[in-house]
Symmetry: C2
Subunit: 212 residues, 2 copies
DNA sequence: GCCTGTGAAGCTATTCACAGCT
DNA sequence: AGCTGTGAATAGCTTCACAGGC
């Protein structure tokens, strides 16, 4: 941990981990960098550099040991203690996100949901209890929640972000199409679906026409 | 259009456009680069360079004309003709995406949905007609669809991508947590929610503890 | 004075290319 | 022969800093 690991590398490490299961299914015990690279859509050198930067080593003869690598990634990426997360905004997108993460990684799970609409609160949705936003700070502190997934409309984004910061949030996964202004020390990762679709449309147009 | 505009710039241009409406509401007729920069969370120099790279100029005295800039961005980003898109995978996430884009940009709309589950096909969901995947190629060609949003499980991702390519797709917005192997000329933009959440957890942990 | 447009500098991330190992 | 680990080179992106204009 001498040098800070670049953000992109962290993202790819998470990807590599998911790919490992595929090699396990083939009853392989080791993978080479070029195999992982092919599966991830990056260059072999990139894979080697990424694994180097998290301090994991392979053997020139056999490549990377699957189990050892999985353990190495877990040690690098995962918290040793559970990291409960909250969802704010139980609309269409919020519910889809709840369903998406339901029962995935026990150590990194959405354990509470919040909405301002009273008709959504008081019950459980996809196995997750739903509270009114007024109880945000109380529930977050009580359950030790430091991570939030924000799936509210754009105009509510900053207001909710401010409340999250006051409640001690340390990281936000932001689906609201606004730039959030947060103090240093709070990490924000934006997922901007509209922009992503516009990028696809733009670059699709530039590419060579499929056929005559 | 002498030099190719970088991918990141295209993303930010899309963001800037959405921010413009906020300034319009304040009855402003012009914006300075530092205002846009602040709203977008980037540096003023970045804004100027981005606008330069799409060939739009402001005036040193007044900044950028709101209407002119909006028109300039539209000319750069948008297709002059409608660009119909398809959604493949009408699960929780797929339905949320349909709702999200319903009635947004008339020129860039999801006009057809596909699923392999017969119980979902034959009806309209969020105003979008839903077909069995078997009809993918037929409907896509008939309606001139060149853009696809992929919201299927990981194990179906590559198979569906292959079918899309055969049906003449030019760009894919991929929510499936797999790397898609597509021929050159097909643009793929990945949205990997699991990786994003793991990044948030990772960097949240590194940041300074909120308080004592 | 404060802005834009932009060449040049600076950074960060990726890829090259090869020594060393088996 | 073919792999990993890694310094060095490259490419790509961002920021600096200032000339030019109102």
């Amino acid at each position: 941990m001498a040098e800070p690991v670049p953000q992109r590398t962290v993202g790819r490490i998470s990807l590599y981990r998911r790919l490992l299961s595929r090699f396990r299914e083939d009853n392989a015990s080791h993978v080479f960098s070029h195999q992982l690279a092919r599966a991830a859509g990056v260059t072999p050198a990139q894979v080697r550099r990424d694994l180097m930067s998290i301090g994991y080593s392979g053997s020139p003869a056999r490549g990377y040991d699957l189990e050892g690598l999985a353990a190495g990634i877990a040690q690098f990426l995962d918290s040793p203690v559970p990291e409960p997360a909250a969802l704010i905004g139980v609309g269409n997108l919020g519910r889809a996100i709840l369903a998406y993460f339901e029962g995935r990684r026990p150590n990194l799970a959405i354990v509470a949901a919040f909405d301002r609409d009273k008709s959504k609160t008081g019950r459980a949705i996809h196995g997750c209890r739903c509270y009114p936003v007024g109880q945000l700070a109380r529930v977050m502190r009580q359950r030790g929640i430091g991570i939030a997934v924000l799936a509210v409309p754009a105009d509510a984004g900053q207001t909710v972000a401010d409340r999250l910061v006051k409640a001690g949030v340390r990281g936000i996964l932001n689906f609201a199409p606004v730039h959030l202004r947060v103090p240093a020390g709070v990490y924000v990762e934006d997922v901007d679906i509209t922009t992503s679709l516009e990028k696809v449309a733009f670059f699709a147009r530039r590419s060579a026409p499929a056929r005559a």
